[in-house]
Symmetry: C2
Subunit: 233 residues, 2 copies
């Protein structure tokens, strides 16, 4: 009998923001799999480091960060083949996913390759957007407000149009797009309502008004913006 | 010295989707507080029931479900006064919040009343939207896709306009607005792409194509809709 594939959300980075189920599955896993920046560290593994059992087999997918999709997809092909082998010999495989597996997560590439052939279970995790809202002490959405989640790499004109039509906004993957996004928000006269959050929940977390954000934002940074009346009243 | 106020996300309903931090804080709490439907049960308390310490003091806020805001706000006034007393005598108070405290959560009303006077910490939780995506086996957003979160009570014309301009959509608080929402999605020719999820992560969870959704949807139901190309490839 084949093993079960688990896509397990680890939350935003603080290991204590892992769910009880994620903790149980990881601690019991004989095989774990996770992506790493080609040749570099794995953020997912670092979150789960203290929970992974001694002697567990680790399948590392070295994913290159290129604009073209083919090299990354080749890495998932290779990872899926290794995971298949483990599942076929009857071992469960726990895939470690930063945040939530289906919220801008790379687990969907493994899901696409493997869920037709193997039993697959998804364990949701705490996302970076609510973690950033907690860090910024800023309710994300109240009552009948709309929330729009926008990836920072979107073109400037599209970002402007989407922010203009939105109420609450979370802009993910800010990184090297910070200057562009700041320009858009400044142009809309919304700087006073925008908060910058970097590495939410980690010891090196940064929270500040967007106007005071550092020049160089890491990939794991976000801008939150609310336009409604004070949502607390 | 005053106690600390904790706004603790409990996740979507399955107690195992609580974070390790939520579990630790609730288990150690001498005072917990939570909303309940006036005269009825508390969903938040039911999620945490097995973790609350024996002998803990429980502050229950009976919140009436009325369209007018004043009666609910009066309930939070009363709750805030009781929580203040506990904090002032030096006890920490753990507020139990379904899902995430700052994602359509009522904790923001307590935060508005108390965070100026007492140290307040927010613990994010797993939201219903990624839990529904996991239940539906449907990645919510990939790569540079936009995600729009819409409350079901929005007027029909606004829902139509927002869904038309969106890529991935999560419609929350479907409940008695199901027929209206279904009409909008049908009108846009998107029925084939919409999934209905009810009570995600609970034993009575329902997942089905929107076309097959039951007539009477509970408050805790959601519709997910993706319009992009297959996001898995």
């Amino acid at each position: 009998m084949s093993g079960i594939l688990y896509g397990v959300g680890l939350g935003p980075g603080d290991p204590e923001l892992m769910t009880l189920r994620a903790h149980r599955l990881i601690a019991a896993a004989k095989v774990v799999a996770y992506p790493a920046l080609a040749g570099g560290a794995s953020f997912a593994r670092s979150i789960a480091a203290d929970v992974i059992a001694k002697g567990a087999t680790e399948i590392v997918m070295d994913v290159p960060m290129t604009v073209e999709r083919a090299p990354a997809q080749a890495a998932y092909d290779l990872g899926a083949a290794q995971i298949s082998e483990a599942l076929e010999r009857g071992d469960d495989v726990v895939c470690l996913c930063e945040g939530d597996p289906f919220f801008y997560g790379s687990f969907m590439y493994l899901f696409a390759r493997l869920s037709g052939r193997f039993e697959t279970q998804i364990v949701p995790g705490v996302t970076s957007i609510t973690t950033c809202a907690a860090a910024a002490r800023m309710p994300l959405a109240a009552r009948n407000e709309r929330l729009t989640v926008l990836p920072g790499p979107l073109p400037e004109a599209e970002l402007r149009a989407r922010i203009e039509g939105a109420e609450s906004v979370a802009i993910m993957k800010v990184g090297r797009h910070l200057a562009k996004i700041r320009g858009v928000i400044e142009g809309l006269g919304l700087m006073g309502r925008a908060v910058y959050v970097e590495r939410a929940s980690l010891p090196e977390e940064v929270v500040c008004p967007l106007a005071e954000a550092p020049e160089n934002a890491p990939y794991f940074s976000m801008i939150l913006l609310t336009k409604g009346a004070d949502p607390w009243l």
